[in-house]
Symmetry: C2
Subunit: 530 residues, 2 copies
């Protein structure tokens, strides 16, 4: 087909280009990870371009470029007609000074949108499709609506295992990719779902004390009351510059920092911002999220913990085996040595649920305190043992004993203190941990044996109480599976920082405490003794 357009229109195109710069202004509004551009309704550019509220614009100069959604302003004191306002995050991301002239133009729709629509319709996508989508996501080209659509579409359509590899591989290729120049580089990860399960904070110091390189990047809670990064933050700074993190790992053989600043698999961080409010955690996304981060971080060997129990993420052995095979398939395609361990997920691990309470448990184990929760100690030693056996000099079956020696001798504690010091220590008194001021006690009203503890309900209670945002908030368990209790015995204490949140948590407890009392014989047997 042939095409024509008049000269006057070419002129109009050039005129629009000339008029398209505005004076940059920082608008002191925190829009939480959503870039917002504020344009005055009478701004000539806004009218000339026919921008609409919520339209995406590209703001650029000097090779710097961000995308932002338009909010239209009718108040000169917020932005004037010749100004472009940016919300705080957007202003920081663009990195140009106030008063700078910037170009503003309508953003073209992300090129991967047709692929997104095909996934929404339930179709299978190619490796190229996933790369295009992941690139657009990492560059913040997707709106919240488009991100959510991608997450839910992948959640439901059950990506096939080849697609999970495509997605994991695409995610691991965006952002930074580390190469430590040695072998093995080890890591461990748990798929989550078990409150209090802070084994990484014990495993890393043990393995690093043995001399293995373990550049563990931890995440913050997605749907749980605390992630490893949230808990470690009670003891030390976790948001480190990449270079600092790098040098800590080289010096101390391990670290316990938040991975978000390292630009490892950055698309994952964007996706999590949507998965979190929806409590979504599908097999495909779980595998892609975990393995893309590990591969980007330069790990060569990984121990993966899949807990199974009636209220764990995985509720049956067949399901655990299916998930294990998916992890193994994708890890192999990505060149990662993977050891999956299926563990007892019938109840929380340790006593505390919430950052400060869990940090207390971890430090008690490292200090070899008599008050230390035995289940947390035992599980951590077993996981560390499996990791130590990645060392070609360690014989199969010897890992556990080596790990126990490192812990009992205080070498793990000293390694942890070194890591805390290196990341930037925070004041923490194990005798008086920083718990939230408001409390609420839940007691047994009959005699019996604890036969079930609902992981989900206890996580919900701890979250409603304010964890992980309020570090000292959460739940402190005083009874575990198999414990006999009398009427009036304390089952757990809820800690909260704000009255409203204590109220929310209390209402949840009143609906269901999460504890079931009965006969010792009623206890669900463990699906797997690990």
């Amino acid at each position: 087909m042939s095409h024509s357009s008049g000269k006057s229109q070419q002129d109009a195109l050039h005129a629009a280009d000339a008029a398209s710069t505005l004076v940059l202004k920082r608008v002191a509004i925190d829009t939480y990870r959503e870039n917002v551009a504020y344009l005055h309704r009478d701004c000539e550019l806004y009218r000339a371009e026919g921008f609409q509220a919520l339209a995406k614009v590209e703001v650029s100069d000097d090779g710097r470029r961000i995308l932002a959604s338009v909010n239209v302003v009718d108040d000169d004191t917020i932005v004037g007609c010749s100004e472009l306002g940016l919300s705080e995050d957007a202003f920081a991301l663009l990195g140009l000074p106030e008063g700078h002239r910037v170009s503003v133009s309508q953003a073209e729709p992300p090129t991967s949108i047709p692929a997104l629509h095909r996934k929404i319709a339930g179709e299978r996508l190619s490796s190229e499709n996933f790369r295009a989508i992941v690139n657009d996501i990492a560059e913040h080209r997707y709106s919240k609506i488009e991100l959510t659509a991608f997450v839910v579409a992948c959640n439901q359509a059950e990506l096939d295992r080849e697609e999970v590899f495509f997605l994991s591989d695409a995610m691991s290729r965006v952002g930074r990719r580390l190469n430590w120049g040695e072998h093995p580089v080890v890591d461990k990860h748990c798929i989550g779902g078990i409150p209090g399960n802070r084994t990484s904070m014990l495993v890393v110091p043990i393995v690093a004390a043995h001399g293995m390189l373990c550049p563990k990047t931890s995440s913050r809670a997605i749907t749980s009351p605390a992630g490893t990064a949230d808990t470690m933050e009670v003891l030390a700074r976790v948001e480190l510059q990449f270079e600092q993190l790098n040098s800590i790992v080289r010096t101390h053989r391990g670290c316990l920092a938040w991975g978000g600043t390292s630009d490892l698999s950055p698309a994952d961080d964007v996706l999590i911002a949507v998965e979190r409010p929806l409590s979504i955690d599908s097999p495909g996304q779980m595998v892609a999220s975990i393995l893309s981060k590990k591969v980007a971080a330069g790990s060569t060997h990984l121990v993966l913990d899949i807990p199974v129990g009636p209220t764990a993420k995985v509720t049956s052995m067949p399901e655990a085996q299916r998930l294990r095979r998916l992890f193994e398939y994708v890890a192999k395609r990505m060149g990662l040595v993977l050891e999956v361990v299926i563990t007892d997920g019938r109840q929380p691990i340790g006593n505390g649920i919430g950052p400060a309470l869990e940090a207390r448990d971890v430090m008690q184990v490292l200090e070899n305190s008599p008050a230390a929760p035995a289940d947390l100690r035992q599980k951590s030693l077993r996981l560390a043992g499996r990791m130590l056996e990645f060392d070609p000099d360690v014989r199969g079956g010897d890992g556990f004993a080596i790990a126990r020696d490192i812990l009992d001798s205080g070498r793990a504690l000293r390694k942890m203190q070194d890591i805390i010091e290196a990341q930037g220590s925070k004041p923490f008194d194990l005798g008086n941990p920083p718990l939230a001021p408001l409390t609420y006690a839940v007691r047994a009203d009959t005699a019996g044996t604890v036969v079930n503890i609902d992981n989900l309900q206890l996580a919900r209670i701890a979250r409603q109480a304010g964890a992980p945002r309020a570090q000292g908030a959460g739940v402190d368990l005083r009874a575990k599976l198999g414990d006999p209790v009398q009427p009036g015995d304390l089952l757990y204490t809820v800690y909260a920082a704000y009255p409203t949140e204590l109220g929310f948590a209390r209402r949840l407890c009143e609906r269901s405490s999460g504890f079931t009392l009965g006969q010792a014989a009623d206890i669900t047997p463990a699906f797997m003794e690990f």
Copy 2:
């Protein structure tokens, strides 16, 4: 279980209540249908409650109440420490004056969220689940993320037909429900997807001129370059107060107004705000959206148009039959008499695509102009004929001739003029319709017969050119299926209001014009002659 909390905590709860009022301020920012509350970072209430950016708060007084997402502000000139700022829409929705003291509290999560999570996981929901979800949606309790998750989850999991009835029924019960006190009350609807298909603007005047009650509420474009409301808006006001709309229908037996102000199935309007940017239009949502609005509007009889063609929404007869059965099943459960007609959807109907261009086509047909597009006239007469046969005094088979008489005699035009006058007419000169100033011509570069016109590509081009936002923008077809063309013959002209948008549309045309030339024998036969 028994529970206890200390007295000091009860006091703290009361203190928090007392401190929770702030002075209302209108912040002149248009956040486009998202309620935003602006709170100063040093606001005592913000700190005491531990609100977070994006947390939902409830703002209330005098029995009025809205929910809004928090944006945190660091600039006293936007909001002070004792003030609560509301974005323009949110301020209007709350309806209280500036300076009024309002209560602000953390909003509890919507009660239907567990049901949403089960739908995301692919489970079947009950009638009660759908009612709870639809209520929360209509009350704006869902965030954009939750809305998108619901839409995508229902899109993919293919709601079963019972669930589609639950959803339709729940949607029709929220908001206003009209009862016209007579029988039959007729309506027509097309599932969409065919550019230029403005039959409603011909069918309504014909049927109303016959004396049947036809309270047609029209929608704006969701994913198309124009909806009936967008096109009618070229000729008359379409955003009417409910009482006015009501009185026009009673006086003139019909109207062509936008349904959004009538509070009919308001949850549908909220869902469309998410479906629009995703171009989502699944069978279940289509049925629920259409039938809930018709039942709420008090219609008793409906003619539904399902166009079939290679680039229509429905591409095969088996698919059309499946959709027809779903519509019939749900309509029957809802007590609505439904007549489904399957029509030729192989190309756009009429010549114009875009509000002003389509309004021109419609008026040409009503004026019996020789330039009037024959396909638009013919299809409208057939649809009107089927509706007229809902009149117990009209014999089966006579409807078409009655409709043609009404059109040819000028009675349909006079009825349309009455409706336009009653809604509030706008200046419109059929000899000189208000088309956009910038144009771009697409011409044949070989000789041949038009054997295919891609509905989707032409709709995309018209939208990129600015339709429906820019009323005069769009595409004007100069050749249709079966037309022979010579090199240099005009296929269509693109109209745009802004240079950027003309550029976007031109780039699309250059990629693919949407026209295929070939031998007359290559034309896809019509799936159905209607």
